[in-house]
């Protein structure tokens, strides 16, 4: 192998490695394509939801699930809300008001036979509450 061939091989390897490295770097370190999901409602219209500010605890009902059918005249409503919020629960047959000592709450609530629309409200830092409406169906074999 003569000197020119060796130089050509070395130069070729260097050039190839350079191009390879450039291609790899560009693929791996380039800007990622971000996919922003767009939700649609039942009518197919696009729905854009406002982002919730970090650290702000909204009222969330963890149980029961909306439109649940039960066979008992009582249900446990559990949820999460900002600590020390005033929780107001109301339905056509009853009302409950309490302060949640922690950031979660659980309350036994009476039901009437048939449809029970229940509004759960949390007053945190203002006189305007956050509200969740639940509809629970109590049907027993009377």
């Amino acid at each position: 192998m003569n000197k020119e061939t060796v130089i050509a091989i070395v130069l070729g390897i260097a050039l190839g490695a350079g191009i390879g490295g450039y291609v790899l770097f560009r693929t791996g370190g380039g800007d990622e394509t971000k996919i922003i999901p767009v939700a649609s409602d039942n009518d197919g219209k696009k729905v854009v939801k406002t982002a919730i500010p970090q650290g702000q605890q909204l009222l969330e009902i963890t149980a029961p699930k909306n439109k649940t059918v039960v066979s008992k005249n009582e249900i446990t409503i559990s949820g999460k809300a900002q600590k020390n919020s005033l929780i107001v629960i109301q339905s056509p047959v009853g009302s409950e008001v309490f302060k949640n000592e922690k950031d979660s709450f659980s309350m036994e609530f009476s039901l009437a036979r048939g449809e029970n629309v229940i509004s759960v409200n949390a007053y945190a830092d203002s006189s305007t509450p956050q509200e969740v409406i639940l509809t629970i169906y109590f049907i027993d074999s009377e």
């Binding site: 091989i9 390879g20 309490f98 048939g114 007053y123």
Partner: protein, 237 residues
């Protein structure tokens, strides 16, 4: 020199394309992982997929058997009724032998007949929805209630009514009747205490229950069934 340059370019091009070759060239010494599937394997897989789909459908139907759809009756026939639910028209399939009908009357539920259900009645139907049609296991005629939350904007002493603005900024007029259950939060003990009309005042937060007016759904004046007041003082203490 020319020879040197041409050789360099050729070698660099070869190195640049090597990764592409390596993707398609099988590695020596490693037995191929992809084997040609035999026809029976394919058939087994198809059968398994079909079984999974059937199982999924069965569990979906089982979950939906307790599905509830509520709305106002739009039309009734011997084999079906249509109800308006959440701004959509829903067809409910009914069957003489399978579907049972009930009416919720206060604290009790009594069995009724299809003839006792009329247009503009509020009903909730229990049964699975398949391809947009609900197969009714039971139809319950009930009273629809609306729950409103907001603030009192005006107290009309002359006719025992109050005006309120709800969380969605809609204004309502509420007539306080002798049967209206009125309660106010004691801001110290957090107990609910019975009150009279004279205790209601502008600025208080209120939670109210009213009976829906199905003949005039756009109505903004109701008789209040239940009032719960959180006095404004609670928020400024």
């Amino acid at each position: 020199m020319k020879k040197l340059l041409i050789s360099s370019i050729l070698i660099s091009l070869m190195l640049f394309t090597i990764p592409v070759w390596s993707q398609t060239t099988p590695t020596e010494g490693v037995s191929p992982t992809v084997t040609t599937p035999e026809p029976t394997d394919n058939l087994d897989k198809e059968v398994d997929k079909l079984k999974e789909k059937v199982a999924e459908k069965v569990s979906e139907l089982a979950e939906n058997s307790d599905q509830v759809t509520a709305g106002v009756v739009n039309s009734i026939s011997d084999s079906s009724l249509t109800i308006k639910s959440d701004n959509r028209e829903v067809e409910v399939s009914i069957d003489d032998t399978l579907t049972t009908y009930y009416e919720v009357q206060g604290a009790s539920i009594r069995e009724i007949k299809l003839d006792n259900i009329a247009k503009n009645d509020y009903v909730f139907v229990i049964g699975p929805e398949i391809n947009g049609v609900i197969t009714a296991n039971a139809v319950y005629k009930d009273q629809k209630y609306i729950l409103l939350t907001g603030k009192i904007t005006k107290v009309n002493q002359s006719d025992y009514s109050i005006e309120m603005v709800s969380l969605d900024k809609t204004s309502y007029t509420l007539d306080i009747q002798t049967y209206t259950n009125q309660r106010m939060l004691n801001i110290k003990s957090l107990a609910l205490e019975a009150i009279g009309f004279s205790k209601l005042k502008e600025g208080d937060a209120l939670h109210v229950v009213v009976k829906s007016n199905l003949k005039d759904p756009k109505s903004t004046r109701y008789d209040a069934s239940r009032l719960l007041i959180v006095p404004n003082e609670y928020f400024i203490q």
